[in-house]
Subunit: 145 residues, 2 copies
Amino acid sequence: MSEQQERISGELPGFEDMKQGDLKSIAEASEALGVTQRTLRFYEDKGLIQPGRVGSMRVYSRREMGRMQLILRGKRLGFSIREIGEFLSLYDHDPDQVVQAQRMLDATQERLAELRHQREAIDQTISELESIEKMSRQHLAKKEK
Amino acid sequence: MSEQQERISGELPGFEDMKQGDLKSIAEASEALGVTQRTLRFYEDKGLIQPGRVGSMRVYSRREMGRMQLILRGKRLGFSIREIGEFLSLYDHDPDQVVQAQRMLDATQERLAELRHQREAIDQTISELESIEKMSRQHLAKKEK
DNA sequence: CTGTGACCTGACGTATACGTCAAGCAAGGT
DNA sequence: ACCTTGCTTGACGTATACGTCAGGTCACAG
């Protein structure tokens, strides 16, 4: 094992539980989060996270892992990376989270409106497709004879 | 008015109603269909339509207009241009439309499954967002005091 | 000395459905 | 002769979220 990787996750054999504060290498972080290393570097490029460095190697602390959870949640909710970046940025520079919560509320409502609209569109499309389905079946049944 | 355009839609002044069979220039076709000229050329490139030519100018007959309606409908239903192209191709080379109807049925069902799945996902996302909405409001209400 | 593994930094590729120039031709009007 | 209109064919641009090389460092194993 190279010193480079072991400096972080295994330099104290037999003392794994004591390694300082859950610091993870990029491999461990991506594993734990279920994303690729590329994704972690990408988010870093976009300014969403700022892992520490040991030499040139990235080090992911609990803070970064927490931010990543928020980011992934934001993605599941359909926010773009840019939007998520704005939330996090506000979150950082807004001690009592008032501005932040307000913007979040706004964005949430916009997104809800979008989703409700999409839902209607999908429902319409579904019923249109169902009628096509029927017609196709009838057409095929006729030719079956 | 240039001869080029008038050859199609206006060469018989006073007899506009008699111009042979609803032939349209690209401008008229795009106008009637509510798409841009670029779109018509794009679909032609992709092989979805084959308008005739008078010299180098495209001529849209009722047949092309009909195909365009099908194409636009397919798009509204969420099929990709490639899929639509396949339908039309089958439609062309399948006299009694049995193969065609079968493929259509398959694709329709796949799409329906997708949409129902999407609907569930959207419903989940909506309720998650609604709970975030509540929490944001509470947070703001607290800070309001 | 060389191979191997984990990491690093660019930088180009991907998919979709067109939008947006750019440059050019033909023909009628002024 | 020149301008304008309508049309033509390329060909590059757009947005998003990464995927996928290519090329290079570092340190230890054999």
